[in-house]
């Protein structure tokens, strides 16, 4: 091929290559929406924290736009500008609301709640934004519940302290019951009205007095029992309990040991078998060595 033709071919190849690269780049950028016209909208917040340029704007989980600019107003509020493509402009309607979502898991984003059916929102208009913080929301929702629980605890405390007082209605009622029962025991006429017979009343009083004596005796007996029998028995039972616990622990340890020994037993058997195999092999070698060492080959055992 002549040199001039070769230069032409190389030139054409290079030009086609550049065109192909440029076309590919263009198509890629076009597909990305770089050349599409974008429509800007605004909203104002108290703080720029949790916002950043490039932050996505979503509707139903799909990205439809990004924050393009963040600037500080003279009154200290923050002015934000976001843009959407021509295709996604349809989602922005009159009375649409933006909500800043800060989920417990995942990055923060702006969710658009579009009022479908309303008139489309003109570019350059301002929208309202609501800040939603999942963690803070949770805390703020829990706060009243916690306050209520504290109130309930305080109420229970005040009720129990009131009941515990000597002049509380419960205490007074209990004292009245006590007085009534003592009067019932002492006042013969009252008892007579109930029994209908003086002798019966006396018998009842005697029986009550006797019962009191018996109760005192029983009390004495039980107190002596307490020192002589119950206390030692109790301590003995405690000791027995401690012994039984100790025995249980030891049995558990023994059980583990027995199991371990069982596993060792199989291991020992394996080792024994291996040693036996090794010995048999060494015996075979010894047989061969013996055969080599013998001066003459004999097939019969020679007696002394």
């Amino acid at each position: 091929m002549p040199y001039s033709k070769m230069k032409l071919a190389v030139g054409i190849f290079v030009v086609i290559l550049f065109i192909a690269i440029a076309m590919s780049l263009y198509l890629l950028l076009k597909e990305k929406g770089t050349f599409e016209k974008r429509y800007s909208y605004h909203f104002t917040t108290e703080s720029a924290s949790s916002f950043n340029i490039g932050m996505p704007l979503k509707i139903s989980g799909f990205n439809i736009g990004v924050i393009d600019d963040i600037s500080l107003n003279d009154d200290g509020t923050v002015y934000m500008t976001f843009s959407v493509s021509k295709n996604n402009k349809k989602w922005l309607r009159e009375e649409s609301v933006l909500i800043l979502k800060k989920p417990l898991i995942g990055s923060a984003h702006i969710e658009l709640y579009s009022a479908i059916g309303n008139e489309p929102l003109q570019a350059g208009k301002t929208l309202n934004i609501v800040l939603s913080d999942d963690i803070n929301d949770m805390i703020s929702k829990l706060e009243p519940a916690v306050n209520k629980m504290i109130n309930i605890i305080n109420s229970i405390d005040s009720i129990t302290s009131y009941m515990d007082r000597d002049d509380s209605e419960l205490m007074i009622t209990l004292k009245n019951i006590e007085k009534f029962t003592s009067n019932l025991a002492n006042n013969k006429s009252l008892l007579t009205t109930i029994t209908g017979d003086k002798n019966s009343t006396l018998s009842l009083i005697n029986a009550l007095n006797e019962t009191a004596k018996i109760m005192k005796d029983i009390s004495k007996t039980t107190s002596s029992l307490d020192t002589k029998i119950i206390d030692p028995s109790s301590s003995a039972i405690k000791e027995l309990d401690a012994i039984m616990r100790d025995v249980k622990h030891k049995l558990e340890a023994l059980d583990a040991t027995v199991k371990a020994v069982g596993s060792y037993d199989t291991e020992i058997l394996d080792i024994k078998e291996q040693i036996s195999a090794g010995l048999q092999k060494s015996n075979q070698i010894i047989d061969k060595v013996d055969a080599l060492m013998q001066d003459e080959k004999k097939s019969e055992v020679t007696l002394p």
């Binding site: 010894i286 047989d287 013996d290 080959k297 097939s299 019969e300 055992v301 002394p304």
Partner: protein
């Protein structure tokens, strides 16, 4: 050097290939193990002797022909007797009726002092003259017969069987013979025999010391 190694390896290979294992290899193995047992037993290498003996028995127990096993049992018994240990050959007696070999029965009778005249021709040739001389109470000749025997183990056995009628020179000869071969058990036995049959106290003390030294480990 390389050539030598190659030639040596090839020679080993050819030698290895030239050996053909006989079908009755067990008999050879048993006989070889018993030969080793005899030496190790007499040399007081008890652990090795035990191993040799068990190998010999193991190899002998692969066949229904129990003559090899019977010979091993008799050999063990006669070795014990040859070093002065009492042995009634119980193992042999247990299988004697099964084996029923007249030669082995004659040998058994010989080592247990139950030999009958008609059994004498059935004994190994090496003991024939010896037994006839003992039978005829010709102990001097019997002593000489012992010295004429080729095998040391045969000499030791015959001497121990005749120990009551052996003269002192032969006892010393037995010690010398056993010592030369390193048969410790036989040495100790014959030292004891010499000690029991001498009136020389000095010699007795000397022998006691020797026995003590031989019996001491380390």
């Amino acid at each position: 050097m390389k050539k030598i190694i190659i030639c040596f390896s090839l020679s080993l290979l050819f030698i290895g290939c030239s050996f053909k294992t006989p079908p009755n290899q067990w008999q050879y193995n048993s006989a070889n193990a018993f030969e080793a047992y005899k030496k190790d037993f007499l040399s007081s290498n008890d652990s090795l002797a035990k191993n040799d003996y068990s190998r010999a028995v193991k190899h002998a127990k692969v066949s229904s022909d129990l003559r090899t096993l019977a010979r091993i049992y008799l050999g063990e018994c006669s070795l014990n007797i040859s070093v002065g240990q009492e042995d009634e050959c119980k193992k042999f007696k247990d299988i004697q009726d099964v084996v029923n070999d007249p030669f082995l029965n004659a040998y058994y009778s010989f080592i247990t002092f139950q030999l009958k005249k008609e059994q004498i021709p059935l004994l190994p040739q090496v003991y024939q003259d010896f037994v006839w001389h003992v039978e005829n109470l010709e102990y001097k000749e019997a002593n000489e017969d012992i010295l004429k025997m080729d095998e040391v183990t045969s000499q030791l056995l015959a001497a121990s069987l005749l120990k009551e009628n052996i003269h002192n020179e032969l006892r010393d000869k037995m010690i010398e013979l056993a010592s030369f071969h390193g048969y410790k058990k036989a040495v100790i036995f014959w030292l004891g025999e010499v000690k029991n049959n001498t009136l020389d106290n000095k010699k007795r003390e000397e022998i006691s010391k020797k026995i003590s030294i031989l019996n001491t480990k380390g």
